[in-house]
Symmetry: C2
Subunit: 346 residues, 2 copies
DNA sequence: ATGAAAGCGCTAACAA
DNA sequence: TTGTTAGCGCTTTCAT
């Protein structure tokens, strides 16, 4: 049951390795007899080509690398499932790395994946990444990269995002329609694409309904809510305000659960005192106390589409004249954390 | 900024590739001058050895493969973080594959990882795996494997598990102490180690407290709760019984949330009508409605220890005379889903 | 102290 | 139709 190589087959069948190689790849120039012989023997011996050797030769690996902040997060793990299902069908393997919201680890992961000759990269930026030259260099060298979710603004390649602006607008408008006016927003670092877009949607909804935007109602969590104290601080600052908010729109999984936890500990009644909407794909939203109103992203579909685009890029290396930036619709799931009953506004 | 190889350095410095190679590995037989020259040039050109070439040569890769049911699961993703932190410190990369509770995918993933020359494997069996010969063969060939969580009974290698028996015993006893007597158990397929151990702990606690074990109170979910209808069916069967249970002990993340969801939909009051304890590491247990009493596994530590053992195996290939089977203590987090107040029993 | 050559497994250009 | 050879990047034995 030891690993068998082309050489072994060649020796056993008294052929040259190239003949065996060609036979295995069903080359037209090989005698049918020979082919049969080789194929049968290979089958019998359970021959499997050595992908390492292939990678060394061809500088590719039939695998794609995924770099994202963390997998212990419903949004990302759903997205991974979307990635895997497409990749699997197209004959690619998926190698996942977590940046844990660290720029250094993102760079290290990138280098490793590249040295491992992945054929392309699927990336969602860490919350601490402001410099993306490590990706730009690769793009310049011709390595296909598709960004998703947290995408760099300027880079010229395919991008898949949720309709962050629309989702936030909808969430905020929903809060307004349930009678809330002092709506706070807790979010990730401002330089992330998702942060800016969600903030913009929030702001636009306020202004469209005649509520002035108030920067002091916006709190930023530097580590995207990964550090527990961030949420604590953000919530506390809001509670300490003269005009305590009557609603909070939280911008991510981590921030949402983190804030909920703080509010619970402080025995704040949701939604009576403060209503909550989260931009989150958390799976148990309806099991929470109270069931959580949430803007849900089509994570699986985002994974699907990003992977399709990436594989297209890999398999058709001629640079497309135009790169796509797709924005997929979110859906607002209304539950009790926002009371549900809507009142008439404006 | 193209990839630079030893050959390039050799050419540039008018040396042979072997000299460069040795200089880079700081071999004693190389002239200090030459070494300095090479090192400096390599540094300047940002030389990085090609890991693919190394793998091809040495049949190893400084990477370890992880095969587990799914990552969209707090227990497993916490465990992965434990794995990564140790591996990272020891200079290994971690490649994660999901079996999605499918035997076929488990086998496919295994083969792929082996062909990619991982130096060792960390495995938690899929819920549909009954035949483990794919792992046994590898062990026979000398590939280090450490099993965790869902481990095969007979196989001779290191294993890291939670104290499933103890955790279940504690959970069940807790239910009994809160006055429950008709305690049901919803769990995974019986042939999984975790299922048997948890069932045994549950049973022992019942019997120790004079409650006869009743097989009809035990429901099995073939896909470990991954298929929504499984939970539905299990709960429904329990509700349809003549003696409807007054408590349910659910054996995993998926089963726990699945059952909670069904109970919510049926407007069953927890814990008044039915109390719930879950064997789960779900992160938001205290945010649930009601906050969930849970047996929590030291997932991160399990990942740490499994990885330490694996790397020890990899780096000291001499077969250890004895393999370890470590069982790590769980902790029972008591919350409102079991009322909290305990009554005096037996 | 340094270099030449072989080999890890595979494919493809070139020869026969 | 089949075989020979070189090369992907690296290390190591065996010269020198």
């Amino acid at each position: 049951m030891e690993t068998i190589t082309i050489k072994d087959i060649a020796r056993a069948l008294n052929l040259s390795t190239s003949t065996v190689s060609r036979a295995l790849r069903n080359s037209y120039e090989i005698n049918t007899e020979t082919k049969k012989l080789v194929l049968e023997y290979a089958e019998k011996m359970n021959y499997r080509p050595n992908p390492i050797a292939l990678s060394l030769r061809d500088s590719k690996s039939k695998s794609i690398g995924v770099i994202l902040p963390e997998i212990a997060n419903n949004f990302f793990s759903q997205l991974i499932n979307g990635i895997e299902s497409i990749a699997y069908n197209m004959g690619y393997h998926v190698v996942i790395f977590q940046s844990h919201e660290s720029y250094e680890r993102e760079v290290a992961n990138t280098n490793y994946l590249v040295s491992r000759k992945v054929d392309g990269l699927l990336v969602s930026l860490s919350s601490l990444t402001t410099d993306i030259s490590h990706f730009e260099e690769l793009l310049d060298k011709g390595l296909p990269i598709v960004f998703f979710d947290r995408v760099p603004k300027k880079v010229d390649t395919h991008k898949i995002v949720a309709d962050n602006f629309g989702g936030s607008y909808q969430a905020t408008e929903h809060l307004i329609k349930t009678g809330k006016r002092k709506i706070a927003h807790i979010t990730s670092p401002i330089y992330l694409s998702i942060t800016m877009e969600r903030l913009a949607g929030y702001r636009k909804a306020l202004e469209d309904h005649g509520i002035p935007f108030d920067e002091s109602y916006v709190k930023y969590c530097h580590h995207g809510g990964m550090v527990v104290s961030e949420n604590e601080t953000a919530v506390q600052e809001l509670l300490d305000m003269e005009e305590v908010p009557d609603a909070i729109f939280t911008a991510s999984d981590r921030i949402t659960t983190g804030c909920l936890s703080v509010l619970h500990r402080k025995h704040i009644r949701i939604p009576e005192e403060i209503a909550i909407v989260g931009f989150t794909n958390i799976g148990v939203a309806e099991l929470l106390n109270p069931p959580l109103t949430a803007v849900v992203q089509p994570a699986m579909d985002m994974g699907n589409q990003a992977t399709e685009l990436l594989i297209k890029l890999i398999e058709h290396p001629k640079k497309p004249t135009i790169f796509e930036s797709r924005s997929l619709k979110t859906s607002l799931m209304i539950r009790e954390s926002t009371a549900g009953k809507t009142v008439n506004v404006s």
